[in-house]
């Protein structure tokens, strides 16, 4: 049997599952682009006029409209957008004239850095605090960390960003308030982005840990005299972390796709801020390109989380069909 057919056979349900999910991603991405393309076509204003300026002669505007294919029916315009997008061509920015894809590609590493650091901060805070809270349920540490986590979930992150700027760059002068110069400029945005996720991960770790601790096999371990720290670290943690890893993965996807406000607060040169700037300038190709790109990144991360889930939890693997 040929190798690729082997992958699809019943002997490798995991690969088959991954291929199937990757395949299912295509209609979703097509749908997303259609959705955003349709929304964007409602945008009032003539792009040709926008590019040439208010004072441009009517003939020139009409000529450019024809050249850009703006007079074509919706479905034709959408088809050509998809056709170009597949080859990595997302059109040119109305305001800068540069390739949208190139611009996204040059900015994406910044967004990725921020999301990665944000998630790392969230894990470093969230997982230990969640475990400690669960092992000392209803203690002072537990209640106070739950209150802090609740505040973290309730805080708008753009406001937290401004407050951190107020304290650490305006009052203390320790860190830059925005832009992208050296490593110190990444600290505040990453903290801002990570706080909400840290709160969510803390809550998830705590509740998952509490659920596991109550199970019989933990009681068995304790009954046969296993030391408490071994019970927690070896027996309970492994199972408790399975749903936490899912949440971490989903948070990563969310930070990647939803860091728009944080990037705006800190003037961070990422894809999110590129989108907000493009909206202000009514730069439709850029808005379209960034939304579709971020949605694709978000979907891919979610897919990766699903697959990872199967690797760490053998019970799920048997469900792949």
């Amino acid at each position: 049997m040929e190798y690729h057919l082997l992958l699809l056979s019943d002997r490798y349900p995991m690969y088959r599952f991954i291929l199937k999910r990757l395949f299912l991603l295509l209609p979703v991405l097509l749908g997303v682009s259609l959705l955003v393309f349709a929304i964007m076509s409602f945008t009032p204003g003539d792009p040709a006029q926008l590019i040439l300026g208010e004072s441009a002669p009517a003939e020139a505007v009409a000529e450019l409209r024809e050249e850009m294919g703006l007079n074509d029916p919706f479905i034709v315009r959408y088809a050509s957008f998809v056709g170009n997008a597949i080859t990595g061509d997302l059109g040119r920015s109305y305001s800068t004239g540069r390739e949208v894809f190139g611009e996204i590609a040059s900015r994406f590493p910044n967004t990725l850095t921020l999301a990665t650091l944000g998630v790392l901060i969230a894990i470093v805070i969230g997982v230990p605090v969640g475990i400690i809270s669960a092992t000392r349920q209803y203690s002072l540490i537990d209640s106070s960390s739950m209150v802090v986590a609740l505040l973290g979930v309730s805080m708008p992150n753009f406001w937290l960003g401004l407050m951190l700027i107020l304290v650490f760059s305006v009052n203390l002068g320790w860190l830059p308030s925005g832009g992208f110069s050296d490593w110190s400029s990444v600290i505040l945005p990453a903290l801002t982005l990570g706080t909400g996720s840290a709160a969510i991960i803390t809550r998830m770790t705590r509740s998952s840990m509490l659920e596991v601790i109550r199970q019989d096999y933990i009681r068995t371990a304790r009954a046969k005299g296993v030391a408490e720290n071994v019970v927690i670290n070896r027996h309970a943690l492994k199972n408790a972390l399975i749903p936490v890893i899912t949440v971490i993965g989903l948070q990563f996807g969310y930070l990647l796709g939803g860091a728009v406000l944080t990037e705006t607060v800190y003037s961070w040169p990422g894809v999110g801020r590129m989108m907000v700037d493009a909206i202000r300038q009514k730069d439709t190709p850029t808005v379209l390109g960034t939304v579709v790109f971020l949605a694709a990144a978000f979907s891919l991360v979610n897919l990766a989380v699903d697959i990872l889930y199967g690797f760490i939890d053998p019970r799920i693997k048997s469900q792949y069909k």
Partner: protein, 305 residues
């Protein structure tokens, strides 16, 4: 014994039993009793009541035309004082008064957008779950497409295309949260669909519409209520976020996110302009989260004991 069973032919004892059977309301009474014991949820409810109170009586607390939107440049960017409890903004307007009036926009957008999302998402989810098969597949795949875009991105795209105003803002936030309600309702409809009381309703000839709206929807309500309470919180956050980047409520109308954005460039000299509206958002969201968590505990029979 081909006699039809009607109320007249039933033995008196059976009728008596139906009359004295516990009323349906008692279920909600029980939830309330449970909720009342949850101190955090009650704390949330009290704060939320204060916010609603502020929204209802905003005009008595501060006049809209003369205090909330009228500029008073001689008093601009003043710190908190006896006259201005939370100081003044860049146009010399009383931040406290604007914050109080800001509750109106936030609550209205929050509640209405969630209501729209529940109506559309709930109907789609109920139809998908009840009929199943191809229809279910089509509806849920479309929902997957919506879920593939982070909701704030979707809302931004919609508002930027349709134009920034109150109605479009509500629509955008509603549309971006439709899929989550569709999922929740579909899941509970699926679990209800094959239960005996539904079968019984179908056996006595109830129409699909009647079964969905009279029997399934009331029983599927609990998770929707929890999701709704948390959804209002998310909607208020999204409103503030969109206004913050200039895509929501437009000045001079007071909205917390827009107020924050206005104070951003004065952060260095006037901390209070950005600090207080943010606190207002945080406290309102906190109250909704506490109440939502409490409702979940009260409504989830699994956690009841």
């Amino acid at each position: 014994m081909s006699q039809q069973i009607t109320a007249d032919t039933l033995p008196e004892a059976v009728l008596e039993a139906t009359r004295s059977a516990p009323k349906k309301r008692s279920q909600w009474l029980e939830v309330w009793q449970h909720l009342k014991r949850n101190k955090m949820a009650m704390f949330g409810l009290v704060i939320l009541s204060l916010v609603v109170f502020a929204a209802v009586f905003a005009d008595l607390i501060a006049d809209y035309e003369t205090v909330v939107i009228a500029q008073n440049l001689s008093d601009r960017l003043q710190g908190p004082s006896a006259q201005y409890w939370m100081g003044t903004d860049e146009f010399g307007r009383d931040i406290f008064a604007r914050m109080i009036h800001g509750t109106r926009v936030s609550l209205m957008v929050g509640v209405l957008s969630v209501a729209i999302a529940i109506m559309i998402g709930g109907t789609l989810g109920a139809v998908a779950g009840y009929y199943g098969g191809r229809l279910d597949n089509i509806i849920m795949r479309v929902m997957d497409i919506f879920l593939a875009v982070p909701s704030i991105l979707l809302a931004i795209a919609i508002v930027s295309a349709l134009g920034a105003n109150l109605i479009n803002l509500m629509l955008a936030i509603a549309v971006s949260s439709i899929p989550s309600y569709a999922r929740v309702v579909r899941a509970s409809v699926l679990s209800l669909r094959d239960q005996e009381f539904i079968e019984a309703a179908r056996a006595i000839g109830a129409s699909d519409t009647r079964i969905i709206f009279r029997h399934i929807v009331p029983n599927a309500l609990a998770p929707v209520i929890v999701q709704g309470a948390l959804g209002v919180a998310t909607a208020i956050l999204s409103t503030a976020g969109l206004s913050f980047i200039g895509l929501g409520i437009q000045p001079p109308e007071p909205e917390w996110g827009a107020m924050l954005a206005g104070g951003r460039q004065y952060l260095r000299h006037a901390w209070h302009v950005t600090t207080f509206p943010g606190l207002a958002i945080m406290i309102t969201i906190l109250a909704l989260n506490l109440l939502g968590d409490g409702l979940r505990d009260a409504l989830d029979p699994r956690l009841k004991h």
